[in-house]
Protein backbone atom coordinates (compact mmCIF):
# COMPACT_ATOMS: atom_id res chain seq x y z
CA UNK A 1 0.00 0.00 0.00
CA UNK A 2 1.43 3.34 -1.01
CA UNK A 3 1.66 6.41 1.19
CA UNK A 4 -0.93 8.20 -0.93
CA UNK A 5 -3.44 5.39 -0.43
CA UNK A 6 -2.88 5.54 3.30
CA UNK A 7 -3.54 9.24 3.46
CA UNK A 8 -6.64 8.79 1.35
CA UNK A 9 -7.92 6.12 3.66
CA UNK A 10 -7.20 8.27 6.73
CA UNK A 11 -8.98 11.13 5.09
CA UNK A 12 -11.96 8.87 4.43
CA UNK A 13 -12.06 7.77 8.07
CA UNK A 14 -11.79 11.39 9.18
CA UNK A 15 -14.60 12.40 6.90
CA UNK A 16 -16.71 9.57 8.26
CA UNK A 17 -15.92 10.59 11.84
CA UNK A 18 -16.75 14.23 11.04
CA UNK A 19 -20.00 13.15 9.50
CA UNK A 20 -20.75 11.16 12.60
CA UNK A 21 -20.17 14.23 14.72
CA UNK A 22 -22.45 16.23 12.50
CA UNK A 23 -19.69 18.31 10.92
CA UNK A 24 -19.17 18.92 7.26
CA UNK A 25 -15.97 17.32 6.07
CA UNK A 26 -13.09 19.70 5.27
CA UNK A 27 -12.30 19.78 1.70
CA UNK A 28 -8.75 19.42 0.56
CA UNK A 29 -7.06 18.37 3.77
CA UNK A 30 -7.24 16.77 7.23
CA UNK A 31 -7.55 18.42 10.62
CA UNK A 32 -4.52 16.54 11.79
CA UNK A 33 -2.42 17.92 9.02
CA UNK A 34 -3.15 21.47 10.10
CA UNK A 35 -0.14 22.81 12.00
CA UNK A 36 -0.72 23.82 15.63
CA UNK A 37 -0.34 27.40 16.65
CA UNK A 38 2.12 26.66 19.43
CA UNK A 39 4.25 23.56 20.00
CA UNK A 40 3.12 21.03 22.66
CA UNK A 41 -0.11 22.89 23.36
CA UNK A 42 -3.34 21.60 22.05
CA UNK A 43 -5.50 24.28 20.69
CA UNK A 44 -8.35 23.66 23.05
CA UNK A 45 -9.91 26.97 22.44
CA UNK A 46 -9.91 26.28 18.77
CA UNK A 47 -11.31 22.88 19.30
CA UNK A 48 -13.92 24.15 21.67
CA UNK A 49 -14.96 26.40 19.05
CA UNK A 50 -15.32 23.45 16.74
CA UNK A 51 -16.90 20.93 19.09
CA UNK A 52 -17.23 20.40 22.85
CA UNK A 53 -17.17 16.56 22.55
CA UNK A 54 -13.89 16.69 20.79
CA UNK A 55 -12.63 18.90 23.58
CA UNK A 56 -13.73 16.34 26.21
CA UNK A 57 -11.97 13.58 24.35
CA UNK A 58 -8.82 15.57 24.25
CA UNK A 59 -8.99 16.32 27.96
CA UNK A 60 -9.60 12.67 28.77
CA UNK A 61 -6.66 11.60 26.70
CA UNK A 62 -4.47 14.12 28.44
CA UNK A 63 -5.62 12.97 31.82
CA UNK A 64 -5.02 9.33 30.98
CA UNK A 65 -1.51 10.02 29.77
CA UNK A 66 -0.70 11.88 32.97
CA UNK A 67 -2.28 9.19 35.13
CA UNK A 68 -0.38 6.43 33.37
CA UNK A 69 2.97 8.12 33.82
CA UNK A 70 2.29 8.75 37.52
CA UNK A 71 1.02 5.22 38.11
CA UNK A 72 4.02 3.72 36.36
CA UNK A 73 6.31 5.69 38.59
CA UNK A 74 4.55 4.50 41.77
CA UNK A 75 3.87 0.90 40.79
CA UNK A 76 7.28 0.12 39.24
CA UNK A 77 9.14 -0.54 42.56
CA UNK A 78 6.24 -2.54 43.97
CA UNK A 79 5.98 -4.57 40.80
CA UNK A 80 9.64 -5.32 40.97
CA UNK A 81 9.42 -6.51 44.58
CA UNK A 82 6.27 -8.58 43.90
CA UNK A 83 7.76 -10.31 40.92
CA UNK A 84 10.79 -11.25 42.99
CA UNK A 85 8.58 -12.77 45.71
CA UNK A 86 6.47 -14.60 43.18
CA UNK A 87 9.54 -16.05 41.57
CA UNK A 88 10.78 -17.34 44.90
CA UNK A 89 7.39 -18.92 45.72
CA UNK A 90 6.69 -20.44 42.34
CA UNK A 91 10.24 -21.47 41.88
CA UNK A 92 9.69 -25.02 43.08
CA UNK A 93 6.44 -25.57 41.23
CA UNK A 94 7.91 -24.00 38.20
CA UNK A 95 10.72 -26.49 38.33
CA UNK A 96 8.31 -29.33 38.72
CA UNK A 97 6.01 -28.14 35.96
CA UNK A 98 8.95 -27.81 33.72
CA UNK A 99 9.59 -31.52 33.91
CA UNK A 100 7.65 -33.49 31.26
CA UNK A 101 6.62 -36.27 33.66
CA UNK A 102 4.94 -33.87 36.07
CA UNK A 103 3.43 -31.97 33.20
CA UNK A 104 1.80 -35.17 32.00
CA UNK A 105 0.72 -36.00 35.51
CA UNK A 106 -0.92 -32.61 35.90
CA UNK A 107 -2.59 -32.99 32.55
CA UNK A 108 -3.92 -36.42 33.56
CA UNK A 109 -5.08 -35.11 36.91
CA UNK A 110 -6.99 -32.23 35.39
CA UNK A 111 -8.41 -34.48 32.69
CA UNK A 112 -9.64 -36.98 35.29
CA UNK A 113 -11.06 -34.17 37.42
CA UNK A 114 -12.99 -32.71 34.51
CA UNK A 115 -14.12 -36.19 33.51
CA UNK A 116 -15.41 -36.84 37.03
CA UNK A 117 -17.32 -33.57 37.01
CA UNK A 118 -18.84 -34.50 33.68
CA UNK A 119 -19.79 -37.96 34.96
CA UNK A 120 -21.33 -36.45 38.08
CA UNK A 121 -23.34 -33.95 36.06
CA UNK A 122 -24.39 -36.67 33.64
CA UNK A 123 -25.41 -39.05 36.41
CA UNK A 124 -27.40 -36.36 38.19
CA UNK A 125 -29.16 -35.48 34.99
CA UNK A 126 -29.84 -39.12 34.22
CA UNK A 127 -31.23 -39.78 37.69
CA UNK A 128 -33.45 -36.76 37.50
CA UNK A 129 -34.84 -37.86 34.18
CA UNK A 130 -35.20 -41.43 35.44
CA UNK A 131 -37.03 -40.21 38.54
CA UNK A 132 -39.37 -38.22 36.40
CA UNK A 133 -40.00 -41.27 34.28
CA UNK A 134 -40.74 -43.39 37.35
CA UNK A 135 -43.06 -40.95 38.96
CA UNK A 136 -45.71 -41.47 36.40
CA UNK A 137 -46.44 -45.17 37.11
CA UNK A 138 -46.11 -44.62 40.89
CA UNK A 139 -48.75 -41.97 40.73
CA UNK A 140 -50.93 -44.49 38.91
CA UNK A 141 -50.31 -47.23 41.50
CA UNK A 142 -51.30 -45.04 44.41
CA UNK A 143 -54.90 -45.15 43.40
CA UNK A 144 -55.96 -48.77 43.82
CA UNK A 145 -58.38 -50.31 41.45
CA UNK A 146 -61.72 -50.21 43.18
CA UNK A 147 -63.19 -53.60 43.92
CA UNK A 148 -66.46 -53.85 42.14
CA UNK A 149 -69.22 -53.88 44.67
CA UNK A 150 -71.39 -56.92 44.34
CA UNK A 151 -74.52 -56.49 46.35
CA UNK A 152 -75.57 -59.67 48.13
CA UNK A 153 -79.14 -60.10 49.06
CA UNK A 154 -80.03 -62.14 52.13
CA UNK A 155 -81.69 -65.47 51.52
CA UNK A 156 -84.83 -66.74 53.22
CA UNK A 157 -82.58 -68.54 55.71
CA UNK A 158 -80.88 -65.33 56.85
CA UNK A 159 -83.35 -65.04 59.72
CA UNK A 160 -83.89 -68.73 60.32
CA UNK A 161 -83.64 -69.39 64.06
CA UNK A 162 -81.85 -72.71 63.67
CA UNK A 163 -79.28 -71.20 61.32
CA UNK A 164 -78.72 -68.20 63.59
CA UNK A 165 -78.29 -70.45 66.63
CA UNK A 166 -75.80 -72.61 64.74
CA UNK A 167 -73.91 -69.54 63.62
CA UNK A 168 -73.58 -68.36 67.18
CA UNK A 169 -72.51 -71.80 68.44
CA UNK A 170 -69.89 -72.12 65.73
CA UNK A 171 -68.56 -68.66 66.47
CA UNK A 172 -68.33 -69.37 70.20
CA UNK A 173 -66.64 -72.72 69.64
CA UNK A 174 -64.17 -71.25 67.20
CA UNK A 175 -63.18 -68.58 69.70
CA UNK A 176 -62.82 -71.15 72.48
CA UNK A 177 -60.61 -73.31 70.28
CA UNK A 178 -58.43 -70.32 69.50
CA UNK A 179 -58.04 -69.45 73.19
CA UNK A 180 -57.71 -72.82 74.90
CA UNK A 181 -54.37 -73.97 76.29
CA UNK A 182 -53.97 -77.69 76.64
CA UNK A 183 -51.02 -77.50 79.00
CA UNK A 184 -51.97 -76.99 82.64
CA UNK A 185 -49.33 -74.48 83.59
CA UNK A 186 -50.51 -74.10 87.19
CA UNK A 187 -50.47 -77.85 87.78
CA UNK A 188 -46.88 -78.74 87.08
CA UNK A 189 -45.40 -81.28 89.53
CA UNK A 190 -43.85 -79.63 92.61
CA UNK A 191 -40.10 -79.09 92.86
CA UNK A 192 -38.93 -80.94 95.94
CA UNK A 193 -35.59 -81.59 97.52
CA UNK A 194 -34.86 -85.33 97.63
CA UNK A 195 -31.15 -84.96 98.26
CA UNK A 196 -31.14 -85.81 101.98
CA UNK A 197 -27.69 -86.85 103.21
CA UNK A 198 -25.49 -86.23 106.22
Amino acid sequence: MSKEDKTKKAAGVGAWFSALLGKSPQVGGLVKTQPPKTDGELSVTDLSKEDSVKEDFALLGKFLVKFKSKADKKVAPLKEAGSQKLDSLVGVSGDISDKPFYKNLLKIFFSVFILLILIFVGATLFNTLKGERREAPVAGELTPTPIPFEPTAPSVYAKDEVILQMEEDISVLEKELARVTLRENNLNPPRLDFNVNF
Partner: protein, 295 residues
Protein backbone atom coordinates in the same frame (compact mmCIF):
# COMPACT_ATOMS: atom_id res chain seq x y z
CA UNK B 1 -83.62 -9.80 112.15
CA UNK B 2 -80.43 -11.90 112.62
CA UNK B 3 -82.42 -14.39 114.65
CA UNK B 4 -84.64 -15.01 111.59
CA UNK B 5 -81.74 -15.29 109.08
CA UNK B 6 -79.79 -17.91 111.02
CA UNK B 7 -82.46 -20.67 110.85
CA UNK B 8 -82.88 -19.96 107.13
CA UNK B 9 -79.19 -20.49 106.52
CA UNK B 10 -79.25 -23.65 108.61
CA UNK B 11 -82.22 -24.96 106.64
CA UNK B 12 -80.49 -24.22 103.36
CA UNK B 13 -77.36 -26.00 104.55
CA UNK B 14 -79.34 -29.00 105.71
CA UNK B 15 -81.17 -29.15 102.39
CA UNK B 16 -77.89 -28.92 100.48
CA UNK B 17 -76.39 -31.71 102.59
CA UNK B 18 -79.43 -33.91 102.01
CA UNK B 19 -79.26 -33.21 98.29
CA UNK B 20 -75.59 -34.12 98.26
CA UNK B 21 -76.23 -37.38 100.12
CA UNK B 22 -79.03 -38.34 97.72
CA UNK B 23 -76.92 -37.53 94.69
CA UNK B 24 -74.04 -39.58 96.07
CA UNK B 25 -76.31 -42.52 96.64
CA UNK B 26 -77.66 -42.40 93.11
CA UNK B 27 -74.14 -42.16 91.84
CA UNK B 28 -72.87 -45.06 93.92
CA UNK B 29 -75.87 -47.38 93.63
CA UNK B 30 -75.27 -48.43 90.03
CA UNK B 31 -71.69 -49.28 90.98
CA UNK B 32 -72.95 -51.52 93.78
CA UNK B 33 -75.30 -53.24 91.40
CA UNK B 34 -72.42 -53.96 89.03
CA UNK B 35 -70.36 -55.76 91.63
CA UNK B 36 -69.41 -59.19 90.37
CA UNK B 37 -70.91 -62.10 92.19
CA UNK B 38 -68.01 -64.25 93.40
CA UNK B 39 -67.84 -67.55 91.53
CA UNK B 40 -68.74 -70.58 93.54
CA UNK B 41 -65.69 -72.32 94.90
CA UNK B 42 -65.34 -75.80 93.50
CA UNK B 43 -63.77 -78.85 95.17
CA UNK B 44 -60.78 -78.37 92.90
CA UNK B 45 -60.34 -74.74 94.01
CA UNK B 46 -60.39 -75.76 97.67
CA UNK B 47 -57.95 -78.54 97.07
CA UNK B 48 -55.69 -76.26 95.07
CA UNK B 49 -55.61 -73.71 97.90
CA UNK B 50 -54.72 -76.53 100.30
CA UNK B 51 -51.94 -77.61 97.97
CA UNK B 52 -50.54 -74.06 97.90
CA UNK B 53 -50.62 -73.96 101.73
CA UNK B 54 -48.79 -77.30 101.86
CA UNK B 55 -46.07 -75.96 99.60
CA UNK B 56 -45.55 -72.96 101.88
CA UNK B 57 -45.38 -75.25 104.90
CA UNK B 58 -42.84 -77.45 103.15
CA UNK B 59 -40.67 -74.45 102.26
CA UNK B 60 -40.54 -73.42 105.92
CA UNK B 61 -39.66 -76.93 107.08
CA UNK B 62 -37.08 -77.27 104.36
CA UNK B 63 -35.26 -74.07 105.31
CA UNK B 64 -35.27 -75.23 108.94
CA UNK B 65 -33.85 -78.59 107.85
CA UNK B 66 -31.06 -76.86 105.89
CA UNK B 67 -30.13 -74.82 108.97
CA UNK B 68 -30.13 -77.75 111.38
CA UNK B 69 -28.22 -79.92 108.97
CA UNK B 70 -25.47 -77.35 108.57
CA UNK B 71 -25.31 -76.89 112.35
CA UNK B 72 -24.96 -80.62 112.85
CA UNK B 73 -22.27 -80.94 110.15
CA UNK B 74 -20.36 -78.08 111.76
CA UNK B 75 -20.58 -78.90 115.49
CA UNK B 76 -21.31 -82.64 115.45
CA UNK B 77 -22.80 -82.42 118.93
CA UNK B 78 -25.50 -84.68 120.31
CA UNK B 79 -27.94 -81.77 120.60
CA UNK B 80 -27.35 -80.66 117.03
CA UNK B 81 -27.82 -84.28 115.89
CA UNK B 82 -31.15 -84.53 117.68
CA UNK B 83 -32.21 -81.20 116.20
CA UNK B 84 -31.19 -82.40 112.74
CA UNK B 85 -33.18 -85.64 113.17
CA UNK B 86 -36.29 -83.70 114.20
CA UNK B 87 -35.95 -81.12 111.40
CA UNK B 88 -35.32 -83.81 108.75
CA UNK B 89 -38.29 -85.87 109.90
CA UNK B 90 -40.57 -82.84 109.78
CA UNK B 91 -39.29 -81.89 106.34
CA UNK B 92 -39.90 -85.44 105.04
CA UNK B 93 -43.42 -85.34 106.45
CA UNK B 94 -44.10 -81.96 104.82
CA UNK B 95 -42.68 -83.20 101.52
CA UNK B 96 -44.91 -86.27 101.56
CA UNK B 97 -47.88 -84.00 102.36
CA UNK B 98 -47.08 -81.84 99.34
CA UNK B 99 -47.00 -84.87 97.04
CA UNK B 100 -50.23 -86.21 98.51
CA UNK B 101 -51.91 -82.82 98.19
CA UNK B 102 -50.74 -82.50 94.58
CA UNK B 103 -52.14 -85.93 93.76
CA UNK B 104 -55.46 -85.00 95.35
CA UNK B 105 -55.55 -81.77 93.35
CA UNK B 106 -54.99 -83.71 90.14
CA UNK B 107 -57.73 -86.11 91.12
CA UNK B 108 -60.17 -83.22 91.60
CA UNK B 109 -59.19 -81.75 88.26
CA UNK B 110 -59.73 -85.12 86.66
CA UNK B 111 -63.21 -85.26 88.14
CA UNK B 112 -64.03 -81.85 86.67
CA UNK B 113 -63.14 -83.00 83.15
CA UNK B 114 -66.44 -84.10 81.59
CA UNK B 115 -65.20 -85.69 78.43
CA UNK B 116 -62.36 -87.83 79.70
CA UNK B 117 -62.96 -91.47 78.70
CA UNK B 118 -64.36 -93.33 81.69
CA UNK B 119 -61.85 -96.17 81.53
CA UNK B 120 -58.92 -93.75 81.54
CA UNK B 121 -60.36 -91.82 84.41
CA UNK B 122 -60.95 -95.00 86.41
CA UNK B 123 -57.44 -96.29 85.75
CA UNK B 124 -55.79 -93.01 86.68
CA UNK B 125 -57.92 -92.62 89.79
CA UNK B 126 -56.85 -96.07 90.94
CA UNK B 127 -53.18 -95.26 90.39
CA UNK B 128 -53.55 -91.97 92.29
CA UNK B 129 -55.24 -93.75 95.17
CA UNK B 130 -52.45 -96.33 95.22
CA UNK B 131 -49.90 -93.57 95.50
CA UNK B 132 -51.84 -91.91 98.29
CA UNK B 133 -51.91 -95.19 100.21
CA UNK B 134 -48.21 -95.64 99.67
CA UNK B 135 -47.47 -92.13 100.89
CA UNK B 136 -49.53 -92.70 104.00
CA UNK B 137 -47.70 -95.87 104.87
CA UNK B 138 -44.38 -94.25 104.03
CA UNK B 139 -45.10 -91.46 106.47
CA UNK B 140 -45.66 -94.10 109.14
CA UNK B 141 -42.28 -95.63 108.36
CA UNK B 142 -40.61 -92.24 108.47
CA UNK B 143 -42.11 -91.60 111.89
CA UNK B 144 -40.38 -94.68 113.26
CA UNK B 145 -36.97 -93.66 111.96
CA UNK B 146 -34.59 -92.96 114.83
CA UNK B 147 -31.30 -92.13 113.18
CA UNK B 148 -30.20 -89.88 110.39
CA UNK B 149 -29.30 -92.94 108.34
CA UNK B 150 -32.88 -94.21 108.64
CA UNK B 151 -34.17 -90.86 107.45
CA UNK B 152 -31.74 -90.89 104.53
CA UNK B 153 -33.01 -94.33 103.52
CA UNK B 154 -36.62 -93.21 103.80
CA UNK B 155 -35.93 -90.17 101.65
CA UNK B 156 -34.19 -92.28 99.02
CA UNK B 157 -37.16 -94.62 98.85
CA UNK B 158 -39.51 -91.68 98.47
CA UNK B 159 -37.30 -90.17 95.76
CA UNK B 160 -37.37 -93.37 93.71
CA UNK B 161 -41.13 -93.54 93.97
CA UNK B 162 -41.50 -89.89 93.01
CA UNK B 163 -39.48 -90.30 89.83
CA UNK B 164 -41.20 -93.51 88.69
CA UNK B 165 -44.80 -94.44 89.45
CA UNK B 166 -45.78 -91.09 90.97
CA UNK B 167 -44.22 -89.32 88.02
CA UNK B 168 -46.29 -91.42 85.66
CA UNK B 169 -49.45 -90.74 87.65
CA UNK B 170 -48.79 -86.98 87.43
CA UNK B 171 -48.27 -86.84 83.70
CA UNK B 172 -50.94 -89.39 82.84
CA UNK B 173 -53.46 -87.29 84.71
CA UNK B 174 -52.33 -84.11 82.98
CA UNK B 175 -52.50 -85.87 79.61
CA UNK B 176 -55.98 -87.19 80.38
CA UNK B 177 -57.14 -83.66 81.28
CA UNK B 178 -55.82 -82.33 77.95
CA UNK B 179 -57.38 -85.23 76.07
CA UNK B 180 -60.69 -84.57 77.80
CA UNK B 181 -60.63 -80.95 76.61
CA UNK B 182 -60.00 -81.93 72.99
CA UNK B 183 -62.59 -84.70 73.09
CA UNK B 184 -65.12 -82.18 74.41
CA UNK B 185 -64.45 -79.79 71.54
CA UNK B 186 -64.52 -82.71 69.13
CA UNK B 187 -67.93 -83.74 70.39
CA UNK B 188 -69.33 -80.21 70.13
CA UNK B 189 -67.95 -79.80 66.62
CA UNK B 190 -69.40 -83.14 65.56
CA UNK B 191 -72.81 -82.19 66.99
CA UNK B 192 -72.75 -78.90 65.11
CA UNK B 193 -71.70 -80.65 61.94
CA UNK B 194 -74.52 -83.18 62.26
CA UNK B 195 -77.05 -80.41 62.88
CA UNK B 196 -75.83 -78.46 59.88
CA UNK B 197 -75.92 -81.56 57.70
CA UNK B 198 -79.48 -82.24 58.78
CA UNK B 199 -80.48 -78.66 57.99
CA UNK B 200 -78.86 -78.88 54.58
CA UNK B 201 -80.78 -82.06 53.81
CA UNK B 202 -83.99 -80.29 54.78
CA UNK B 203 -83.20 -77.39 52.45
CA UNK B 204 -82.28 -79.80 49.67
CA UNK B 205 -85.60 -81.60 49.97
CA UNK B 206 -87.60 -78.35 50.00
CA UNK B 207 -89.13 -77.89 46.57
CA UNK B 208 -90.48 -74.35 47.03
CA UNK B 209 -88.84 -71.87 44.71
CA UNK B 210 -87.66 -69.28 47.21
CA UNK B 211 -86.57 -71.94 49.75
CA UNK B 212 -84.41 -74.01 47.43
CA UNK B 213 -81.00 -73.34 45.94
CA UNK B 214 -79.48 -74.14 42.56
CA UNK B 215 -77.29 -77.20 42.07
CA UNK B 216 -74.28 -74.90 41.74
CA UNK B 217 -74.93 -73.45 45.19
CA UNK B 218 -75.39 -76.92 46.65
CA UNK B 219 -72.07 -77.96 45.14
CA UNK B 220 -70.36 -75.11 46.96
CA UNK B 221 -72.12 -76.03 50.21
CA UNK B 222 -71.22 -79.70 49.84
CA UNK B 223 -67.59 -78.85 49.25
CA UNK B 224 -67.41 -76.82 52.47
CA UNK B 225 -69.15 -79.64 54.34
CA UNK B 226 -66.75 -82.20 52.92
CA UNK B 227 -63.75 -80.13 54.02
CA UNK B 228 -65.21 -79.71 57.50
CA UNK B 229 -65.87 -83.43 57.78
CA UNK B 230 -62.32 -84.24 56.68
CA UNK B 231 -60.91 -81.98 59.39
CA UNK B 232 -63.09 -83.60 62.06
CA UNK B 233 -61.92 -87.02 60.93
CA UNK B 234 -58.28 -85.99 61.12
CA UNK B 235 -58.83 -84.58 64.58
CA UNK B 236 -60.34 -87.87 65.66
CA UNK B 237 -57.38 -89.78 64.29
CA UNK B 238 -55.06 -87.69 66.45
CA UNK B 239 -57.09 -88.16 69.62
CA UNK B 240 -57.30 -91.91 69.00
CA UNK B 241 -53.50 -92.06 68.69
CA UNK B 242 -53.24 -90.35 72.08
CA UNK B 243 -55.63 -92.86 73.57
CA UNK B 244 -53.47 -95.65 72.18
CA UNK B 245 -50.48 -94.08 73.87
CA UNK B 246 -52.37 -94.23 77.16
CA UNK B 247 -53.32 -97.85 76.86
CA UNK B 248 -49.68 -98.95 76.48
CA UNK B 249 -48.27 -101.25 79.10
CA UNK B 250 -47.05 -99.67 82.28
CA UNK B 251 -43.37 -100.37 81.70
CA UNK B 252 -40.34 -98.94 83.44
CA UNK B 253 -39.39 -96.82 80.41
CA UNK B 254 -42.90 -95.39 80.33
CA UNK B 255 -42.61 -94.43 83.96
CA UNK B 256 -39.28 -92.71 83.55
CA UNK B 257 -40.18 -91.04 80.23
CA UNK B 258 -43.54 -89.80 81.42
CA UNK B 259 -42.66 -86.17 80.77
CA UNK B 260 -41.64 -86.76 77.14
CA UNK B 261 -44.81 -88.80 76.61
CA UNK B 262 -46.83 -85.93 78.02
CA UNK B 263 -45.15 -83.48 75.64
CA UNK B 264 -45.80 -85.82 72.72
CA UNK B 265 -49.45 -86.04 73.75
CA UNK B 266 -49.76 -82.27 73.86
CA UNK B 267 -48.24 -81.91 70.39
CA UNK B 268 -50.68 -84.42 68.92
CA UNK B 269 -53.63 -82.87 70.67
CA UNK B 270 -52.52 -79.44 69.46
CA UNK B 271 -52.82 -80.69 65.89
CA UNK B 272 -56.25 -82.03 66.70
CA UNK B 273 -57.23 -78.62 68.08
CA UNK B 274 -56.14 -76.92 64.86
CA UNK B 275 -58.16 -79.34 62.72
CA UNK B 276 -61.24 -78.65 64.81
CA UNK B 277 -60.74 -74.92 64.45
CA UNK B 278 -60.57 -75.31 60.69
CA UNK B 279 -63.68 -77.48 60.68
CA UNK B 280 -65.56 -74.74 62.53
CA UNK B 281 -64.32 -72.12 60.07
CA UNK B 282 -65.61 -74.20 57.16
CA UNK B 283 -68.97 -74.67 58.85
CA UNK B 284 -69.08 -70.91 59.29
CA UNK B 285 -68.67 -70.61 55.51
CA UNK B 286 -71.62 -72.95 55.02
CA UNK B 287 -73.74 -70.73 57.25
CA UNK B 288 -72.63 -67.65 55.33
CA UNK B 289 -73.58 -69.28 52.03
CA UNK B 290 -76.95 -70.32 53.40
CA UNK B 291 -77.71 -66.80 54.55
CA UNK B 292 -76.86 -65.32 51.14
CA UNK B 293 -79.38 -65.40 48.30
CA UNK B 294 -78.39 -66.46 44.83
CA UNK B 295 -77.92 -63.80 42.14
Amino acid sequence: MPSLVAPKILKALAFAFLFYVLCSMFYVLPVWSQEAVPAQETAFDRQYSDYQAQIKEYELKHSDYILKRSQYLRFKTLTSQEDAIDATGEMLFARADVVASYLKTLKEKLKEGEDIPADFEARITVSIDDELVWLSSHKGETATAETLKDLEGSSLESSERFSSSQNLAFYETLSAIALGKVLGYEKRTQDLFDGLKKKLDEIRSDSRDEYSFSSNKFQILDRWMFDAETRIERSKQRSVSVSTLFSQKNTKSKRTNALSLYNQTLTTLGQSQLYLKEANTFMGEVIRELKTAEK
